[in-house]
Symmetry: C2
Subunit: 359 residues, 2 copies
Amino acid sequence: MGRKRTKPGKVRLAEVAMLAGVSPITASRFFRTPEAVSVAKRVRVESAAEELGYIPNLAARALASQRTEVIGVLIPSLTNNVFSDVLRGIYDAVDGTRYSIQLANTRYSILQEEKLLRLFLAQRPAGLIVTGIDQTAESRSMMESVDCPIVQVMEIGPNPVDMMIGFSHYEAARAAISHLLAQGFRRIGFLGARMDPRVQRRFEGYEAIMKEAALLDPQLVVTTTLPSSVTVGGALLTDLLSKAPDADAVFCANDDVALGVLFECQRLRIGVPNEMAIVGFNDLEFMAAAVPTLTSVRTNRFEMGRDAATMLVERIEGRQPLEPIVDLGFKVMERQSSLGRNREASIRKISVTGASGSK
Amino acid sequence: MGRKRTKPGKVRLAEVAMLAGVSPITASRFFRTPEAVSVAKRVRVESAAEELGYIPNLAARALASQRTEVIGVLIPSLTNNVFSDVLRGIYDAVDGTRYSIQLANTRYSILQEEKLLRLFLAQRPAGLIVTGIDQTAESRSMMESVDCPIVQVMEIGPNPVDMMIGFSHYEAARAAISHLLAQGFRRIGFLGARMDPRVQRRFEGYEAIMKEAALLDPQLVVTTTLPSSVTVGGALLTDLLSKAPDADAVFCANDDVALGVLFECQRLRIGVPNEMAIVGFNDLEFMAAAVPTLTSVRTNRFEMGRDAATMLVERIEGRQPLEPIVDLGFKVMERQSSLGRNREASIRKISVTGASGSK
DNA sequence: TTGTAAGCGTTATCAT
DNA sequence: ATGATAACGCTTACAA
């Protein structure tokens, strides 16, 4: 009628308990809250587990306890360097803890994200890391009604679902443009690929400060929904030059676009920065190695992932983090590609470093 | 004494079965093997599940069935573009199946890999994807004694644990050097970073063909165990030039090293390819966009991941794949950076494309 | 601090 | 094709 009994191969908690001469529940306690077990029994259970090579069955644990030790991570892309740095930080922080990562790729679709979120939440994750602040209303209400801690990464904004870590893409773009203005550039183009919400926000920063300087010109803006790449960067520059031949600088929403611009300038024999200044975004490794070295906005992606996971684990384990919203800031790395001639000495110096909120 | 009863919120299989007017086991069968349930009951269970919003409890399923629907993936690095492409392929293939991915980072350490392997196997994964063919003896015997299917990715070699998909790094390097030889280059340097087993194999390919051509010279070899990067590429070139000022070409074991070499040549005003030819490895996107365009060896990383996961799923579900060892080959993408002057017309033309084994 | 009893939600086994 | 029953291995709730 029933099923045949336990195969002898596997070591269960009961075996450990028996060898240690305690009840299963005591052994169970030992693994979860050692301090709740007397020292004498602690050592007996420990050595019994060691001797038998006991490995807990996570499925049984999850079923009995009604929760898992899985942290769900939703990111838009596996290809983009930016996210792989964040991921590395997450794995780094989780490494050595009892938690494991369940990763899923939304492919920049908030509908896909909603679907994955529903899937994840159904398995009662211990915590959740989601990218950005542009979830669907449905996703939002799911996240708000669920009881596990959640961290939104990559940017900061109003109304966090729970915790948040990132920086203001708007302010970062403003700082980049301020730098170009301070260097005397005036006809500054915006080159954007993918145009996901964060690139959109960078554009808004560009737009705002250009408008304030009375320098905004639609001819200076070239974007595409294609994924960003070096090749796309070259094409965007070509487009820009056909619309605004007098452009003297470009702010690229991604570093690979910036590299593509550099190559295109070389191809077209346009001097950088004399005829065309270049500023990128994210400060990938190659930016400092290029010829000329390329200015970019450094963002703290590894730290973002690491701290997000750490905050999450802290909360899962019942501790309250110091701050629910962490602004990791950014830094404009000024390099040769944006060295200006200070064409107008009247340009005020603008601080280009600091926390996003430090307006 | 016991615990309080089921909270009313969650929908269980029993509820679905009751609403459908069948026994729980029939409902269970419907979800796993619909064809084993009569059509009449199928529709009733389906609509009942729909109506109640039933979501299966994976922990209960894993506990009862003694297996999981998790595919473990062990890769050496999250940062390296090469692996993120493979990963993307894996996620792509698994997407939409019932399997999920459990990812872990060995950080290029086979001891770390062994540890993670032990951890994974303890949870009875449905399948496993591991990187390369250089596991520890202990790892190997664990993999051989476990009963789940396993795919080794990134390269092919003798004695697969189970299945294998990749290409011969040795042959790929030979093909790259053959191309340089055919273009008339003679003092061909080897620039290698990280020197993981696959880079090592590329070096062996370089070494063998250079020796055959009686051109091997230790002064032409510069390596480092540092992770590969654009910056490191520049430094390696500098080292090479100090040891072998007459080098006329470099084979870079990674594309980022190749890009670093290009930049360093620009910095030193060394003409590419006239004074220095450059060949990279992997054919990352920027290679075709650089100025001059950079020759590289194209490898099929996305396909590698996708096909590895597909083969695994096939095997998990009981089907035998056509071939347990898949050679995805490679292709030397000849571009401007290795355009030679055919200094010696006597050089025989060598085919540079094809499966790794097609010596 | 420790133990007893019951239950977590599903599937394997055997029988019909 | 369907169902009754027991079992998967652990933890919660409560009592001692």
